[in-house]
Symmetry: C2
Subunit: 140 residues, 2 copies
């Protein structure tokens, strides 16, 4: 914990519990040699891996399949200057098994965008880190 | 515009207008060869560059000075499945000029975390992109 610094480090269990509360996160990857980031709908699978739902035609899928990515989600309150942020880092793979795809179509993340070619991308939770800003030491 | 796809592409002016509405964004960079992402307080300078305020001792400063990074901010509403996201990509540099630092201490981004060694990082707005999800075509 780093109360003097204004933020508290979260353990992985706390991180996963918080991640389960929000429907949108951001996947961080490299595209054409540049840093890239894209918001995506996601959910957590039973093994705590992160599941993304996106369009098969999106540049995202080709850029991340088999590659280590970071995935970030947060919830900040400007009024109280408080909130939390969690980052999951791990290898991403496109779900190609038809049975898994069918299962995830039923229980996986919902998409906010109509796509007719949904694919699911799984990010292994190899590293899970997070921090919380308490809002009691907002500074000017 | 891609209404059929459920999201609308925003022009740079719209993007900058939206960015000005939120106090926290996420800087996307590479650290120890891995994709990294960190929420930061920010503001827009008069020339539309993105100004970050962070601690001099943070790994962020050393990792991004002189390097092209991405910066993302968004605002999503889970209830209506709508929102927007903007990404600014450009070279980041630490502000070292004492007069600039003093100016930014007065008019630059506020920090939600007490730091005694604030530095400002400027990200040139070389590429500004954004999209909006309308919420009218949420899918299951």
């Amino acid at each position: 914990m780093f109360h003097n610094e204004g933020f508290r480090v979260l353990d992985p269990q706390e991180c996963l519990r918080l991640l389960a509360k929000v429907p949108v996160g951001r996947v961080v990857y490299t595209r054409q040699a540049l840093p890239a980031v894209l918001p995506v709908n996601f959910s957590l699978d039973a093994d705590s891996s992160v599941l993304l739902r996106t369009s098969a035609g999106s540049g995202l899928v080709h850029a991340v399949d088999g590659v280590v990515v970071a995935f970030e989600a947060d919830d900040f309150d400007a009024a109280t200057r408080s909130g939390w942020s969690v980052v999951v880092t791990g290898r991403a793979t496109v779900v190609t098994d038809p049975a898994q795809h069918e299962r995830l179509s039923r229980v996986g993340p919902r998409s906010w965008v109509v796509t007719h070619d949904d694919v699911f991308v799984r990010i292994e939770s190899e590293m899970v880190t997070g921090r919380e800003v308490s809002g009691t030491r907002g500074a000017d």
